[in-house]
Amino acid sequence: MTSQKLYDALEICLQALDHGADMESCLALFPPLADDLRPLLTTALQARTDGVLEVPAGAARRGKARVLQAAAEMREQAASKPARPALRRWQNGWPGTRIFRLVITTVAMLAFLLTGGTGLVGAASSSLPGDHLYPVKRSWEDVRLFLVFNPNERMQLEQEFEQERFQEIEELYTAKRVAKVNFQGQLQTRSNGDWVVGGLDVSVNGNATPQAGIVSGVTVQVIGETDNGVIKAEQIILIITPTVIPENSPTISPSSTLAPTIQPTAAPTEMENTPQPTKNTELPALTNDSLNKSWALSSDPAQTRRPAAARTSENGGDTQDGE
């Protein structure tokens, strides 16, 4: 290799010059390379002769004083903050410490992220619509739903989150706050612009655009704004495809759930005798539809806000929703 020969020849010539040989004698050893080597050797000699060899005594003395001064300051600093022996050993002692330290650091970072993450979610859990952390709460709910693969568990979780929406609206009412809300529920009554969805009063004015085919008993999604105990609807969407419930679920069996659910409707005589029915327990709906009756009669909000259970009853009772 020509280049390597040139590098080697240069080195040999430099070695020869060091031992007192003159340049021409060196170049005579490599006639084909002489033209290439000559300028480099000239430069090398120039670089060598122009070098500074002496170290001024004052420079060494001043430099040493400065270094020792710096060391003294470091000692003072160390004395004011004594390093723990264990920490010192941790930093410098064991072989393989660096790898171990990396592992520990990684674990610590993961722990920090996990605890920090759950801390954030925990703080967001009590947030309400309109709060800064509310998107975190909803995102975390989506994540939880995404991570559940069992249909039963997923349905339970969805119901839990639906209940949470109602709870949030109640808290917004209590706090007299105006905020955008988005929830799903059973349409219980519909009278002109005054609807009752999942036990909550919903005002549907001209701006709202309810979809066609929404009748009492169906599950709807309400998008609106809380305002002094009423939700002013902006949009009402018919939920056409409810969650499928597995057959082995006890709540899906028409024979088992329908009978006890319908049982309370034996009371209609009692209700029918009531001279002035309240708005939330409108009897015409109850008498016309046994399902709605069972929902309206239930005094437990948790029961009245369970559209999936209602759908179960509908599956067993009639096909009003087109299922």
């Binding site: 390597q4 080697d8 300028p39 480099l40 430069t43 001024p56 060494a60 001043r62 270094v67 470091m74």
Partner: protein
């Protein structure tokens, strides 16, 4: 000066001159022992100073940079980031970085470049002016080289290190240093030609 390209010789050289004393020196530096610091300083300062001074035309700046390399060594050893065995290589590399930083700053601010009134180290009255001019030209040409090229020129032609020593200090093999040396001399020749 002995030149050898035998890898075994190079390794033996490394083992003999670097590992054993360096371990004791590092322990002393870590404890900030003044005697150990003085010993390390006395041992390495001349080479560090000459290495820096060869590349800069300012005696005071070279003095500052050389001592700064030692202060950085103390800090690095205290924080566990210092050299494991080869203190000299660490010091020269650190000094080289500082020099290059300075050269870059000087390049951006030409008014702070090499002072005209730099003290003359060569004593001869007749050749004093010529010597000073040659030095100035050399340092200016060196500043145009890469950091590695500057280092190999300074180590080989100023400090007088062998090929093996230079390879060990630059953490390269001997053949790489031969190639680097060839290219450094060619670059230096070009730079000198542009200056003169």
């Amino acid at each position: 000066m002995v030149y050898s390209t035998n890898p075994k010789t190079q390794q033996g050289f490394l083992n003999s001159i670097m590992s054993l004393p360096a371990k004791n020196e590092l322990e002393g530096l870590q404890q900030l022992d003044p005697q150990a610091i003085s010993a390390v300083y006395d041992r390495y300062f001349p080479d560090v100073y000459r290495f820096v001074r060869y590349r800069l035309n300012d005696e005071h700046l070279a003095e500052d940079i050389a001592s700064d390399a030692f202060v950085r060594l103390l800090e690095a050893v205290r924080s566990g980031r210092g050299p494991q065995t080869n203190i000299k290589a660490w010091l020269l590399a650190t000094a080289s970085h500082i020099v290059v930083d300075h050269q870059r700053k000087a390049y951006r601010r030409p008014e702070n470049e090499l002072p005209e009134s730099a003290p003359d180290a060569a004593p001869g009255p007749v050749t004093q002016q010529e010597q000073r001019e040659r030095e100035r030209s050399l340092k200016k040409a060196l500043a145009a080289l890469t950091e590695e090229q500057q280092s190999v020129i300074a180590m080989r032609f100023n400090l007088g290190y062998s090929l093996e020593e230079t390879a060990a200090l630059l953490k390269k093999n001997v053949n790489s240093v031969k190639q680097l040396q060839f290219r450094a001399l060619a670059a230096l020749k070009r730079a000198l030609g542009e200056i003169l």
